[in-house]
Amino acid sequence: MSGYIVRRLISMVLMLLLLTLVVFLLFSVLPTDPARLTCGKACTPEVIAANRHNLGLDLPLWQQYWDFVKGIFVGRTYGSGTQTYSCDAPCLGYSFKRGEEVTTLIKQGFPATFWLATGAFIMWIVVGVSVGIYAALRRGKWQDKTVMGISLIGYSLPSFFIGLVLLYFIILKWELLPYPSYVSPFENPVAFFQTMLLPWIVLAILYAAFYMRLTRNQMLDTLGEDYIRTARAKGLSERIVIRKHGLRAGLTPIVTAAGLDLAGLLGGAIITESIFSLPGIGSLAVNSVVDADLPLIVGITLVTATFIIVANLIVDLLYAVIDPRVRLV
């Protein structure tokens, strides 16, 4: 087990390195010269050259990559002479556009994204799974058909459209909620919930719809298993059969999906965050693209990818805990 984890961690690090390389190469060919972007109207070749040097863009690509990776582990310093900005490990780069370290920017963005993701996560797991089970138990009946219909529509609606419609009716037209402006739940819980409610709903709709079907189908598969019949043959009551024998086996696959989806969202929900102007990683990502803020884009990409990869590991470990047949070797 521990040996397995070690091996997985190693391969994880390797994968992340590979990932950084891919990301790096991909973005080393952006249309705009980052150095040019750092200086505004009156821009002389000299200025560009200077900035290029400060950004380390005058170095060969492999050198840049090396510096970048080194920055992650031991930190690095930009610029030269009297004007140097040191960026401590883990350094994902320095955004000259915003005059901040990428890590700082991402840290600033994380809380909003975190609350958005976890809140929505709880919502959709509760709703999706319970309704899914309900549908499975009512299989083929009108309740089941209704649930499936709703869920289908649910995941068919483009989230940005749901978001805009809710924004228009709930906030602009009927003024049921105040205009979204993010506050930390510790500062002002009420305002926090008022702001987060719609974003949570928008995200939850999409995922809950999906989880309803997932849960339902998993449950149906499980309830069709021979060992369920055995459990009945033992004389167990239907409730115990479903609770003890059905759910555990049926919901195991949900763990995987849930883990990865949550991880994905922790990397920022671009649409939802932009629509409800949440100061999260998602909207940070969009702006980084709009500004061609290269270091920031690369940084966010890496962080997001890391979340996913780590989640993969965690899910696998969890799986081993839940399902004795899975052996980690």
């Binding site: 010269d33 200086c39 109207k41 070749p45 200025v47 005059g99 102007s277």
Partner: protein, 575 residues
């Protein structure tokens, strides 16, 4: 603040400027802004600014260069040697008064030497007295062009310091310190540190207008953190920064600077106790808040209304005493890349075919502005004269909807294919569609090339990447076309998107710049403006207008001609 609103793309980078409304203050504009005046100003309260952008482009005094920001910071935290008078009257509002200096400066040596005396009792938020050295150091920072980016370059171009071969200054700024001695000769301080003298490389009759820019604001050398100074500059005004949190949901909060004294600063009124800027709000939401005017939003302000809100605000009498509808500082135009379209007739054909009427309608019709006939905007004053661009200058009178047949005639069978660069916003996409459609009528194929707003100028200023047509806008830095013609149409200019480089034109422009006879200078600018239109360096589309809706409880909420902005130093919260 300087951030782009849908449709008002140019505001992303273009400099703000002083304007006079005398020339054409039509459109019921002046009447519309009378309401907010009157009543006696009272101290206290907080004014909230609702902002789309997620941070200021810059806060560093030497780097601020967008109209609204210049007005805001100059009115609150940066004192400058001279400043524009607070008044909504076009003439007064663009006249200069002493601020940090005791007078508006004395000129000698035929306009090449300017002297200012610094006021007693002026201090930084630290309590330290502001001396010549601080002003001098501030100015010197402009030369560190690798760190102090985005700011105006007037100090670099005007001060009497040798240039390198590549045209850059021999002085590399206070960080590298190369050529420091040259700078110390160009800007000198008296022993008592009260008097500062600027030695210029050629006569600049209106140098004391340039000194209104916060680029000439004092910076205590000890506190200079270079790049980082942009986050928390030291205040010399009645307020100081207490919070600056960037990003969506971020805030910028100014509180009173207790070291500041009214008698050391007769210029600023500093009525409200604090200012709050809320970043990263959706334009539609901002307008909605100002329109529905909830209690909290009655002391709120913002800048331009979105096209969608205009009908609501201007069709409803209840806003009559609040709404403003004035000329903004900018001329909207499409720069025509001279390098890519060398043939004059082709350039003229493009201009002739363009449906300016549809473009204007798309931008909001009369609200978007009046049809433009050149780079120089009428409200600049003496320097403007009609160029007649659409009234025969191009060979015949061109209707606002364009004249495809005449364009064909000019093309004489040519069917050019050109590309139009524009910042990628939905409204611009529609403008692009209009350009494509109208040029097509003349057999000209236009390919739209949307560019992410944030990268726009980074791309179009790169000669390798700029295409034939480039969407842009520009406003004068002060009421003299010396901040328009040379900037836009000569290689030495900072905003020469047209890639214009016409020997005769360059020389004429250089001459006009140093002409001391203002009347004579004016006619020279008028001729050059006409020439630029005739040569189709640009296709002027609109003299932009600007509609705003301040909160009901904001006093002195008039559009300040100086920057085409709110008069931040003059505004107050009605009790």
């Amino acid at each position: 603040m300087g951030k782009a609103r849908p449709g008002v793309l140019a505001a992303v980078v273009v400099a703000a400027g002083a304007l006079t409304l005398t020339a054409c203050g039509g459109g019921g504009s002046s009447s519309s802004s009378t309401g907010s005046a009157g009543g006696t100003p009272t101290k206290g309260g907080k004014i909230t600014y609702l902002e789309i952008g997620e941070q200021f482009n810059n806060v560093d005094p030497q780097r601020v260069y967008t109209g609204e920001d210049l007005a805001f910071f100059s009115g609150t935290i940066f004192r400058t040697l001279t400043a524009y008078k607070f008044s909504k009257d076009a003439k007064e509002g663009t006249s200069i008064v002493p601020d940090l200096a005791t007078d508006t400066g004395t000129v000698s040596d035929g306009g090449k030497t300017w002297t200012f005396t610094i006021r007693d009792g002026a201090t930084f938020e630290t309590g330290a007295a502001i001396t010549c050295a601080d002003v001098k150091y501030g100015v010197s920072r402009t030369f560190a062009t690798d760190i102090i980016t985005n700011g105006p370059q007037y100090a670099v171009s005007m001060l009497d310091i040798a240039k390198n071969a590549d045209g850059t200054s021999a002085y590399a700024g206070p960080y590298k310190k190369t050529g420091q001695d040259l700078f110390d000769k160009a800007v000198t301080c008296s022993a008592d540190g009260k008097t500062i003298v600027f030695h210029l490389n050629k006569p600049v009759p209106d140098f004391n207008y340039a000194t209104t820019l916060s680029a000439f604001a004092p910076v205590p050398q000890a506190a200079d953190t270079g790049e980082k100074y942009d986050d928390k500059p030291v205040s010399s005004g009645p307020y100081k920064i207490s919070v600056y949190k960037k990003g969506k949901g971020g805030q910028f909060i100014l509180v009173r600077n207790d070291k500041w004294t009214q008698d050391s600063d007769p210029y600023r009124h500093a009525y409200p106790d604090s200012w709050e800027v809320d970043f990263g709000l959706d334009p539609a939401v901002i307008d909605q808040r100002l329109i529905s005017g909830a209690a909290a939003d009655q002391t709120a302000i913002s800048t331009l209304l979105t096209p969608a809100s205009l009908p609501i605000v201007f069709n409803d009498p209840k806003f009559a005493d609040r709404r403003t509808n004035e000329f903004d500082p900018y001329t909207r135009y499409i720069a025509v890349n001279q390098k890519k379209v060398p043939d004059l007739k082709t350039r003229q054909a493009i201009a002739v075919a363009l449906d300016r009427e549809a473009l204007r309608t798309n931008a909001g019709g009369a609200f978007a502005g009046d049809y433009a006939d050149g780079a120089i905007k009428p409200n600049i004053g003496v320097d403007y004269a009609p160029t007649g661009m659409w009234d025969g200058l191009l060979g015949k009178t061109i209707p606002a909807t364009g004249d495809p047949d005449y364009a064909k005639q000019l093309l004489a069978g040519k069917t050019p294919t050109i590309t139009f660069d524009y910042p990628n916003t939905p409204t611009n996409a529609k403008a692009a569609a209009i350009i494509v459609a109208s040029e097509a009528k003349a057999g000209i194929t236009v390919k739209p090339n949307p560019i992410e707003a944030g990268q726009y100028y980074g791309v179009v200023f790169d000669p390798a990447k700029a295409h034939e047509l480039i969407n842009a806008g520009w406003g004068a830095d002060w009421p003299n076309a010396s901040t328009v013609i040379p900037e836009l149409f000569t290689p030495s200019g900072g905003f020469n998107l047209s890639q214009a480089d016409d020997k005769a034109f360059n020389d004429a422009s250089a001459a006009a710049k140093v002409e001391l006879d203002r009347a004579k200078q004016a006619t020279m600018w008028q001729d050059l403006n006409k020439k630029a239109s005739e040569q189709v360096f640009i296709i002027p589309t609109r003299f932009g207008r600007d509609q705003r809706l301040p909160g009901a409880k904001i006093g002195n909420a008039y559009l300040w001609p100086a920057y085409g902005s709110w008069p931040y130093g003059d505004m107050y919260v009605k009790s």
